[in-house]
């Protein structure tokens, strides 16, 4: 399930405050999963904070999302800056669909020239990654049939 969240950055918030909002969104979402711990998410986001603030300040998150993958949910979090930030409508509620997740990973983008900073951050916590997030599984392409054709055929011929 691909989800999107957009957070208003400058001039609405400083880079630090924007990162705090992203941290809140990620940790609140992870906290909805019975098998996952909010504190672990907080630790991960805290380790990522130096790189995260730079990603926000440089406007990189406007173009390259931070991706939270927890269970079936792929949530891409981007920022918006400038005039657009003034009118951005934010949804800061926890992302639905994480309740049954048993693991999570926070993927940070690694745009130039912040590659080294991001690499250093992700090395500090097992829940962080600087890799390209895996593609979202296509649920509909290979899903099982919704209709039992044999039962339907029986109904049609039984009339």
């Amino acid at each position: 399930m691909l989800r999107y969240r957009t957070i208003a950055a400058a001039p609405v918030r400083s880079a630090s405050a924007t990162w705090q909002v992203i941290t809140g969104l990620v940790t609140d979402t992870i906290a909805t999963a019975a098998a996952l711990s909010r504190s672990e998410a907080e630790q991960a986001m805290s380790v990522a904070a130096p790189a995260g603030r730079m990603l926000v300040a440089g406007g990189h998150l406007d173009r390259h999302p931070l991706t939270l993958i927890a269970g079936q949910v792929h949530c891409e979090i981007t920022t918006t800056s400038g005039t657009a930030a003034l009118t951005a409508e934010e949804n800061l509620n926890p992302v639905p669909g994480v309740a049954s997740a048993e693991t999570f990973t926070i993927y940070l983008p690694s745009p130039d020239p912040l590659g080294a900073v991001v690499s250093a951050a992700v090395a500090g916590h097992a829940r962080l990654s600087g890799a390209t997030p895996p593609a979202e599984p296509q649920a509909t392409a290979s899903s099982a049939p919704l209709i039992d054709l044999a039962a339907l055929r029986k109904e049609v011929t039984g009339r």
Binding site: M1, R3, E89, N91, N93, V95, P96, G97, A99, A139, T140, S143, A144, P145, L146, I147, D148, L149, A151, L152, E155
Partner: protein, 299 residues
């Protein structure tokens, strides 16, 4: 979001669930269209791209109040259950009124979050019927809603409904939405255009009124056996003729209106006579005529 979901559960074709469908007396074509459209959507949408089918998995039931639209929608999962692999269909009921917020920008966000995110999570991979009752409150006709009288949120909420329907049409073929409305003119044109079928649930005709009266009396006869003879009496046709024009809900209540006319029938409902029913029907007919006259005068 949870407060906007008034019911969420798994339904199989039990007698209680099937009774929702059979209790509603409408031309058989109405029920068949609804059932067949939902089966067809679930049959075709997982296999054929949306660009080919343009099927949104949405059916709109419209018509006067009290004609059984919501009950039909609630009864649909049990009609589908025998034809799905697990023999169970999830039923999710949404209260659209709960989505509208006085806070700027919140209605759109809530609609989007509920329909595009929360409902798919609730349904998972199961076949699911999602009921949007009185949908006109969330899919307001933008052409009719003036920006002066309606907050911009109303317009944005309608946009969000349309976006969510488009999203679900492509991503979640297991979802089938049934919207009900008493006012099709209040519904947004783009919403109606997304409906795979807009089905009129009409007021019952005289035959249907008679059948509703008969069904109600037969059901009551399970507790008060003396009513069985009345239920099967040919005189019921004359009562039904007087009650023509009432909606199904009011026809059912007509029996209880008749029971309330005398203290004897309150004590023992089996004492109900055709005369009581005829008196109640005549009174209802007069009420209906007066209502029409008032409405005409108001216009």
């Amino acid at each position: 979001m949870q407060e906007c979901v008034v019911a969420d559960g798994v339904v199989s074709a039990t007698p209680d669930e099937r009774a929702l469908w059979t209790a509603i007396v409408v031309p058989e074509g109405v029920k068949e269209r609804l059932r067949n459209h939902s089966l067809l959507a679930m049959r075709v949408r997982p296999q054929v791209p949306f660009t080919v089918t343009a099927l949104h998995g949405l059916c709109t039931l419209y018509g006067p109040p009290g004609t059984g639209k919501t009950t039909l929608a609630r009864g649909l999962p049990a009609q589908l259950a025998p034809f799905v692999p697990g023999r169970q269909v999830r039923r999710i009921e949404i209260n659209p009124h709960g989505l509208m917020s006085a806070e700027h920008g919140q209605s759109q966000q809530r609609v989007s979050e509920l329909l595009a995110e929360y409902v798919p999570v609730l349904a998972g991979d199961d076949p699911a019927v999602v009921i949007l009752d009185e949908v006109e409150s969330m899919a307001v006709a933008r052409s009719e809603a003036s920006l002066a009288a309606n907050p911009a949120d109303v317009h944005r909420a309608t946009d969000a409904v349309l976006s969510a329907l488009d999203h679900n049409a492509r991503q979640h073929p297991n979802l089938f939405f049934v919207a009900t409305s008493n006012f099709t003119t209040a519904l947004d044109g783009a919403f109606l255009s997304r409906s795979d079928a807009a089905i009129l649930v009409p007021l019952p005709g005289p035959d249907a009124v008679q059948q509703i009266l008969e069904n109600t009396l037969v059901s009551l006869a399970e507790s008060f056996p003396g009513l069985r003879e009345l239920a099967l009496s040919p005189g019921l046709a004359a009562v039904a003729a007087h009650a023509a024009g009432l909606d199904g809900r009011r026809v059912r209540k007509l029996v209880f209106e008749a029971l309330s006319l005398r203290l004897e029938t309150v004590l023992d409902p089996a004492e109900l006579t055709m005369h009581d029913l005829a008196a109640a029907a005549a009174a209802a007919e007069q009420d209906l005529a007066a209502q029409k006259e008032n409405a005409h005068a108001a216009v």
